[in-house]
Symmetry: D3
Subunit: 252 residues, 6 copies
């Protein structure tokens, strides 16, 4: 099976980190292919960055129409429903996967994300995914996404401290790491806290494998049916939905 | 006061309909300036069309940075939070405005939208705007958006019939028209049903006037602060957020 | 257009403050006419005061049946649905208007009200208006309503301090002032906090203008239809609902 | 123990029906004393009638300050929190009592009320009492309250038919009768349906006995503390809250 | 009337405490008969202890099939719906009864329970009983259940301190004691705090009396109908549901 | 990896069906070992059957303490949290797994279960798992669980018909089969409906593989920590929790 792992920001070093985390957990028979988005922001830190990243995400799916599943490797799960509409193969967001996984191993979890300004995005996802009862709190360490790659940012220590606060103050039994760029911290933090620490990239890869193994594809009945064919203009002209039969002939 | 009314689809005839509806209710001192999106779909009928329309929406705001307020004239309110981040002037979505207005004049309302496949989008908005208690049902007539402009589509009759069903079956006291393209039907339907019928375009224009009149701007503290300046690549390269001070010097 | 602004408490000096706030934002073509309630409490600070104030509110509407819209200028929105039943003209509560306005300019807001004992009233309104997702917290400064008019009460300083706490602790992007008597503090606080500060009196006036401009009236289908004509006894004898045709002949 | 049962409408024949239902279930040591409201509507069929009935309700409590508990015998529970503020003795609403009782004997129940226009009032109570999960539907037979006393109204047959529909369509295991005036139908309907049928008057009397037996009084900490003493004007002048010490000396 | 009060843990001294609390409030005509569970844990402090206690609970009901009502005297209300299915007589859980009683005398309450690890159980009950709006917080003192009987545990002082914190920090108007073993502390704490303090054992006894007085039994339509007769194996072989007619002949 | 698949009812032929469904989707490196419960009901059709099945479920886990993960193959997910407390290995319920899987491939799904009386159990799970927004309706075909194995019961046809009704009336994009005994119908129904049809047994197996692959175990911090060691009596005497260190030495 082949999973297309898409980093919707344009920073290639982050794609490396993400791909490593994915490969660490992928089944031997799963091939992880990672893309860095060709369009969009160097890091996704708000509603605007998210909205602007979707075109690059769709581009990446279009460039690889035959993957068995797709993973959107940004904790805001930008463009998740648009992507599900665009392809029939399963698409998983990493926030979605992480929260669902957390709900399987703890009755309450906390999310630890990067910037205070992206906290609301995670809170909206908590609500949309029905995780209000499980997610006890979304916390932010106020570190820019790209600083995660900078050793001098003390990111590691500050994230660990926030996770410790989550355990002490939120009565949480598990931690969800709220940024794809934190994927390489999972083991480090889990070893120290001795509770489940969940990285969405790894979780999404395993859930994608699960869905493919179940033979499940996105429902094409209702709102997730392929986009209706029509004319697109301007910057997006090239992204106009094709006739379904054309598309079906190309997508499995 | 000047309100920039943006039709996020690329069909100019629909922009005319929308602009007419807006001007009909605008205060004498309000100037309505309407734009048709330069990028995106001819009609917005799903998550994918919505996602692809946001770049055109932002383009339209960027092209007119000095408007006193902006209205997003598509019932899915695509890109609403991204737009609020991008500018300091108030931004209103028409679904948002219509639902809030309906909640002021009835304890329960129904939404009547176009396609069955877009019904879920309206249902998500109902939840996100806190309208679960007020909105008794979202109904779809299953007419494509552009057919609203085609007299032979019987759109008018079918929408009226659905509104009648809403009154009879949902115990609703008001109707929200679930598509910008229905703006010119408001009076027709209200005259026949004798209950409040609310077009979001008109509602958004009046609420935009209200916010401007109150001297309110979008909060720049937290997630709606201006996007952090950073590099954008590819199709969106031109949309990279500027330094706030640059931006501030250009936007009032 | 003529808006009847009703202070449902019986303190005339407070009516002055409220009327000033209303006139400050009203359109040039809007005439604000303010009434002090003739029946009820000198200040409304609890469920009992609220319940007892409704008869005075209705009295004020009945005394001016031809207003284009009515505003109930007490943050508990006492009698809102009763008033909507009694007249066909739009009726707005100031808590309702303030919360809706806040949700247009911030993804999260805090309410700062007077007495601890009235906090629950605001919390109930938050829930009834569907604002649970937007309102992050209701805070009380524990100042009696009438002390707002007393310079020695340090009301201004304490309210400002509570607003600052709201920003720091609740991650709120906007403040809703939770008492009609705070109307004159809006500018003062907003200037210091540099985030939107919303006074419900002003918001209600502008939304009332908006609804009148939209030609919307309260739905007379369902629970907000005119009260059924019947005999009333005792203190309320004079308030028995009339036959609808009688009423219709008097109310536009 | 002595329970003051207050019919907040002014129709004495209905008070008889209610008092009979109460006495049928009261413990031998409980004395039921029933009052017909001296102020307010002949029947309570909407938000306006409710609001106008509260002064009469408070009058009835004030006229008998020494009762061990009070029951508000109208299914909208008008003035419930105001009454709880006014007295320290337990106060129960019949809608509240009926819904709570139903939740003890079935996982789902339906409410069958009188007028379509009062259905929303019951729905608001369902939400406020946290009964959303238990109450599967509120149904209305569209019979005016006073027609319940008129044999030719076929009220009995129509209510029974609606209850049967509730069982068949709502999967409800119990019925809550949504009007004090239906109190005498409980046995009749329960015998035919063979499921629990709950009249709020009876339920409130028994729960009032329970609270008194537990030695519980309404909390005087927070929003239900006695109303703050202050001046009242106009029609309500006579209802100004007294100084607590005065009050305490009169109320046990 | 005869109420069977079942302590679902196997510690007889605790049954004494519970029975005393029950008898203190029971009506003169009510006979309280208390059982200590013959199967299960010495104390119930988690999901596992709860699950393992249900067989003993059912055993106790089966051993006394003619009681007028049953009370499950453990704050997690283990096996409540199973018990309601098993018998037609009313069954009350003490958490359920306490929370409902609290909602009758305060608009907000806090629960004070024993172990931090059982806090989530109370929180789940809050949600299942629709008490989310009323219950402001569940607090744990982190005292093992059986330590409540040990004077050296300082249980009394620590519970009182936690209740004081609840009043100060949660704005609660009442306290629900979150363990059957706290039944004898009610008066002590209430005297010190001067707000309603509710022990579920007492509340459940009074509500059971109320339901019996109303002639209400558990609905046998739907999910609470008697268990379908079928073969059981192993440890539970003896608990196979009988044919309803057999059962009906034995249970009133 | 080795997954212990536990049929908590005592019918061995059903275990066969379930094990077949599990093996069909298990990875080549996964060994499925299926157990039929030694204690409990021949079929689980209500709260009582569920409660009585938990001891057999725990027995099955105890008999195989070294499995990498456990699946509870009954759609009510009986004893899920107790099992998670009892072992550190991941435990998945099939209702839980099916609903989560459905939410990944459709924005709305319907559950089709067996008996009307078990419908409420599924509805409670929907709420507890946060699936209220995704699950549009729970439907019952009113076929006893064991009739699923009886060709003359027309079970297959009736389930298919109910699924078709779900698509037509609920606007659902996917179907969740609400009984472990339906596992062999998945393919049959999916082929006919052309939308995702999800059997919880298969979904739970794949999610269990995913969690094991992620190295996740149930959080032992908080309510899911191993049960506190204590004395158990009677039928459950043999199930008293051991000292953690003893347990840890036996469970990986």
């Amino acid at each position: 099976m082949r999973i297309r792992l898409i980093n919707p920001n344009t920073t290639e070093t982050m794609t490396e980190t993400i791909a490593d985390a994915a490969r660490l957990v992928a089944a031997p028979t799963t091939r992880i292919e990672a893309s860095t988005s060709k369009s969009g922001a160097a890091s996704i830190e708000g509603h605007y960055d998210e909205a602007m990243s979707i075109i690059g995400l769709i581009e990446a799916i279009r460039d690889d129409p035959d993957a068995d599943a797709y993973v959107i490797a940004c904790f805001g799960d930008p463009g998740l429903l648009a992507a599900r509409e665009f392809t029939a193969a399963p698409v998983l967001g990493i926030a979605e996967a992480a929260m669902h996984a957390a709900s399987f191993v703890a009755t309450g979890f906390s999310v630890v994300t990067t910037l205070e300004r992206t906290r609301i995005i995670a809170e909206h996802l908590v609500r949309n995914y029905g995780m209000t009862q499980h997610c006890r709190r979304v916390r932010a360490v106020d570190i820019p996404v790209l600083a995660l790659e900078d050793p001098s940012s003390m990111a590691r220590a500050r994230i660990l401290a926030e996770c410790e606060a989550a355990i002490a103050e939120d009565s949480s039994g598990a931690i969800v790491l709220g940024c794809a760029g934190m994927a390489d911290l999972t083991r480090y933090i889990q070893d120290r806290l001795q509770i489940p620490v969940i990285d969405g990239v790894a979780a999404a890869v395993k859930f994608a494998e699960a869905l493919v193994g179940l033979g499940l594809k996105t429902s094409k009945r209702g709102d997730l049916a392929f986009p209706l064919p029509k004319v697109y203009r301007g910057l997006t002209a090239d992204y106009a939905p094709e006739e379904p039969q054309l598309k079906a002939s190309r997508i499995r």
